[in-house]
């Protein structure tokens, strides 16, 4: 494997800009590695050889002509297949959308293209981002490059596996209840879920609109910062997108953590956490402490209600968001010759997988007349209380540290019931409920050699603080430089 593929994305961008590496050479190296290895991994649903090469050529031409190029010029990245790409099939990991070629470009993808990024293809995911293991992809499971018998996490499993296996330099995932951070944790990466409204959702196929955010998965904090600088910022096409100026995230990576206050919430520890995970997380916090941070115990009393709150609200929104998949304007239709009601039911019955149906049913239940107050409205009120807990906590501390997930990546088929699976997200959900930015980074390995994730949360719009901590930690440790033994060590 080409030595180029072990470079960070930031380093690749530098070398392309100073012409020591060509974008085409880099792009071809990734494409060759994908072609040789992804059949075993299943991280890509679609590889866009032609499109990627064309973009790489364009970058090289611009660099040769001395034109100014964007910050991601020539960097080969890949996108979760939940992001709408013009003229490139987009499926959301679902049969119901198989073959859909969007006639428009999502805002984030547009930003990536104008920053010069080379888009290699679309990455596997749990259908409509509903899952924590990638076992709910309608097409094929994606595996964990650290151990092909284990899941890569979800729902951005393909996005994590591909970066971890050096099948792209960086990727974008989406995070509704932990779907960037948990796979980042399972695959040993930095995964950043931005503040709600920091990044446009236009072109993000909605799972739960008041939770969804697009964010980067990368091997180091600097790369995540580079990507976030490109994708963050206002968008006229998303009414919930903030117009606050985008800070210099890469600059934040250079700061140390002296005087930073790290909170540890007693509600985010507990007996369900693997001992190896607890130990690694404690060690990581100690490391930050030794770098000058201060540690304080805090309480987030309502976070223990995160799971029911999240699953009521997110599924309610999902039941609504997925109503548009009706077989009228796009998607596979069934029962065309029957009555309209049958056409709808058959199209959706055949097009959606089991987990999606479960969540639509649950969400429909929560919104139904007579149940609304007891379920949906109650959950909205608890959401307020959870957000209040964080508001109070961030008056005292700068970041809150916890495990990203209670365990490391689990084997395929390990979670037998929906609730078992949902519990894998227990530490990541509250961040989305409160709209906060959250980051996961590798902080060690368990006895089976599986990566462990440290989660850091910050106050709204404080992504800089998260990146600052992560970068400082990564200067002191080398966990993040380890790559799985997959497809030949890069």
């Amino acid at each position: 494997m080409s030595e180029l593929l072990s470079l960070s994305a930031s380093e690749q961008a530098r070398r392309i800009a100073e012409k020591t590496v060509s974008a085409t050479e880099l792009c071809d190296a990734y494409l060759a590695r994908i072609d040789a290895n992804d059949a075993d991994l299943g991280s890509y649903l679609r590889v866009d050889h032609e499109g990627a090469r064309a973009q790489a050529h364009a970058v090289d031409a611009a660099v040769c002509a001395g034109d100014s190029v964007g910050p991601l010029a020539g960097v080969p990245i890949a996108l979760k297949d939940l992001l709408v790409t013009e003229s490139l099939e987009t499926t959301a990991g679902s049969k119901i959308l198989e073959g859909w070629v969007p006639p428009y470009e999502g805002s984030v993808v547009r930003k990536l293209r104008s920053a010069g990024a080379v888009i290699l293809g679309k990455l596997n995911l749990d259908e409509f981002a509903m899952g924590s293991s990638n076992e709910h992809s309608a097409f094929r499971p994606c595996k964990n490059p650290w151990d092909l018998g284990r899941v890569p996490g979800g729902s951005s499993g393909g996005s994590a596996a591909a970066v971890s296996a050096s099948l792209c330099a960086m990727s974008l995932g989406t995070d509704t209840g932990g779907s960037i951070r948990q796979p980042a944790s399972f695959c040993g990466l930095v995964g950043l879920k931005p503040t709600y409204g920091r990044v446009s959702r236009h072109g993000l196929i909605a799972y739960a609109s008041s939770f969804d955010q697009i964010g980067p998965l990368a091997t180091c904090a600097e790369d995540a910062a580079l990507m976030l600088e490109v994708i963050a910022g206002g968008d006229i096409l998303d009414a919930t997108c903030s117009t606050e100026p985008v800070p210099a995230y890469q600059a934040a990576c250079k700061r140390d953590v002296k005087g930073l206050v790290i909170g540890i919430a007693k509600e985010m520890e507990g007996e369900d956490v693997d001992t190896a995970v607890s130990a690694a997380v404690a060690a990581a916090i100690a490391e930050l402490e030794s770098a000058g941070a201060e540690v304080r115990r805090i309480s987030l009393p309502h976070t223990r209600y995160s799971l029911p709150t999240y699953y009521l609200l997110a599924t309610a929104e999902a039941s609504s968001n997925l109503a548009r998949f009706d077989g009228v304007r796009y998607g596979k239709r069934k029962g065309n010759e029957e009555a309209l009601q049958n056409m709808y039911e058959k199209t959706r019955g055949a097009g959606f997988g089991a987990e999606v149906k479960t969540r639509i049913m649950l969400g429909t239940f929560a919104l139904r007349a007579g149940y609304y107050d007891a379920y949906y409205k109650k959950a909205q009120q608890v959401r307020t209380l959870i957000a209040d807990d964080f508001r109070k906590a961030f008056a005292e501390v700068d970041v809150i540290a916890s495990p990203t997930a209670p365990t490391t990546a689990f084997p395929f088929g390990a979670k037998k019931t929906p609730i078992d699976m949902y519990k894998a997200d227990v530490f990541t959900l509250s961040c989305n409920l409160a709209g906060l930015p959250g980051l996961s980074m590798n902080c060690g390995f368990d006895d089976s050699g599986m990566p462990i994730g440290l989660q850091l949360l910050a106050a709204p719009m404080q992504e800089e603080t998260l990146l600052q901590c992560a970068a400082a930690y990564q200067r002191q440790t080398d966990w993040h430089t380890r790559r799985p033994n997959f497809g030949g060590q890069p």
Partner: protein, 482 residues
């Protein structure tokens, strides 16, 4: 049927929900154009088609127009309102839900004025809320063909309290609302194009009873005529049913204009559960006091207020009604009056609603693009008011002023069209006329008073119409009656 309607025993209770298409250029939540009669599915975008990943962003002009209507009707504007999703599967509803306002509409309260025997009456409103329109289904046998051009068009729904008591009152309400939205520029208000669409909730109860009867909802009554017919028909149907000892089923009924009757669409047992919840894609609408006051300050006078003002100026009710029926006509009249002075209000009314509109009609122009400006018309009317010219001469001048930029005064001077008010000159003409027509003089003196008209006509003819008719009359009488 009318015997039944004037039924002593039963009283009708009617509430209307009128969907008003707001006069925005683009859709409520996205940028494709709003245009009537375009080729099917040629006016769409990712949001209109509810493509995966598309998002709604609300049109600020839609908000402004709804607030303008609300303020004009005396509603309370909510400084904080929000959108909700109303779910139902239907091929003309691309997202599977309509974006509407549910528990926090933009406007509450207010009223629509109507005239009842010339007296103003306020019809109370519950609310006005914002929402988007659905597409259009065309039925073709076992299939339906869907055109989504109209999907996403900005509407506001004006909901009245159940305070209307007859079909006529309902139709009057609808007419008044249409006039007001057109007056305000909130909607083009073109019924043919479906800019106003009405659903009616109708029930009856024994006269004097407080409690409401079971109501039915009539859909698809989209013209004044149908509103009247459908409600009359429904009231009669309900009276017949109750008098026959049947009960009224709560249901939605569709008006079939061709058949002149309604038919049941579906019972409520197939209950729709709309599963309303706040739309997470659309943050609440926040409106400042300053914005509300700004919009309020831009409100024009409403038709019925203008009508009352014109009547106070001495106009006949019919003239006042006509002049206040359309904003540009009223503006024209008011501008004319501003130059001419209020003492000539009636003169101006006659000329604006008479000769001017006739001339514009002849030229195929509307009052908004009249080539004769109010100030120049006032100049012409001044000459009539001070007896410089006769009405007849003025009509001719008006026709010419439509085609030239000249002032009436200049035309009159240049062409010597001023009335002859010099009595000695007129006396000479009268004397000569009487000398030349002894037979007619004798006839008149023998009692044929009609011959006076003959003499007047002859004098006018001799002077090319420029003689002052009043003076001519006086002179003739003085000569003939002695």
């Amino acid at each position: 049927m009318s015997a039944m309607l004037s039924n002593e025993k039963w009283e009708a209770v009617i509430g209307l929900e009128v969907h008003v298409q707001l006069a925005t250029k683009s859709k409520a939540f996205s940028a494709s154009a709003v245009q009537y009669g375009a080729a099917p599915n040629s006016l769409t975008d990712p949001t209109v088609l509810a493509l995966p990943g598309s998002l709604p962003v609300f049109n600020e002009e839609g908000l402004r127009l709804a607030m303008r209507l609300g303020l004009a009707l005396g509603c309370t504007i909510a400084k904080h309102s929000r959108f909700a999703r109303k779910h139902y599967f239907y091929p003309d509803q691309p997202a599977g839900y309509q974006i509407s306002q549910y528990d926090e509409p933009i406007c509450a309260g207010g009223s629509v004025p109507i005239l009842e025997d010339g007296v103003r009456k306020e019809i109370a409103l519950t609310r006005i809320h914002l929402e988007n329109d659905a597409g259009k289904n065309n039925h073709a046998g076992a299939r339906s063909l869907v055109d989504l051009n109209r999907a996403g068009v900005a509407l506001c729904e004006v909901v009245s309290e159940p305070v209307l008591r007859s079909a006529t009152e309902a139709a009057d309400y609808m007419r008044s609302l249409r006039q007001i939205v057109r007056f305000l520029g909130v909607s083009e208000g073109d019924m043919e194009k479906g800019h106003l669409r009405c659903d009616a909730n109708v029930s009856i109860r024994p006269r004097g009873r407080e409690a409401f009867g079971t109501r039915t909802e009539l859909k698809n009554i989209n013209s004044f005529k149908f509103v009247q017919q459908a409600i009359e028909h429904e009231i009669a149907r309900q009276i017949r049913a109750l008098e026959a000892g049947e009960t009224i089923v709560q249901e939605t009924r569709l008006w079939d204009a061709d058949a002149g009757r309604s038919r049941s669409m579906r019972g409520k047992e197939e209950a729709l559960d709309y599963r309303y919840f706040p739309d997470p894609d659309l943050p609440p609408l926040e409106v400042s006091d300053a914005t509300i006051e700004q919009i309020r300050s831009e409100l024009p006078e409403l038709p019925l207020d203008a009508r009352a003002r014109l009547i106070a100026l001495g106009l006949a009710a019919a003239d006042a009604e006509q002049l206040s029926s359309e904003r540009r006509l009223l503006a024209y009249y008011d501008a004319t009056l501003a130059s001419l002075g209020k003492s000539n209000a009636k003169l101006a009314a006659n000329w604006v609603s008479g000769a001017l509109l006739a001339e514009l009609g002849r030229l195929g122009k509307s009052i908004g693009d009249s080539p004769l400006e109010p100030a120049r018309l006032a100049g012409l009317l001044k000459l009539i008011a001070d007896d410089t010219i006769s009405g007849k001469i003025a009509k001719g001048i008006l026709a010419r002023m439509m085609e030239s930029p000249d002032e009436a005064k200049d035309i009159v001077e240049r062409e010597g069209l001023g009335q002859i008010t010099d009595s000695s000159a007129l006396e000479a003409i009268v004397d000569e006329l009487l000398d030349n027509n002894p037979k007619q003089v004798q006839g008149y003196r023998e009692g044929n008073q009609k011959l006076l008209g003959f003499f007047v006509g002859q004098v006018m003819k001799a002077t090319g119409g420029k003689a002052n008719p009043k003076m001519v009359n006086q002179l003739l009488r003085a000569r003939l009656d002695t």
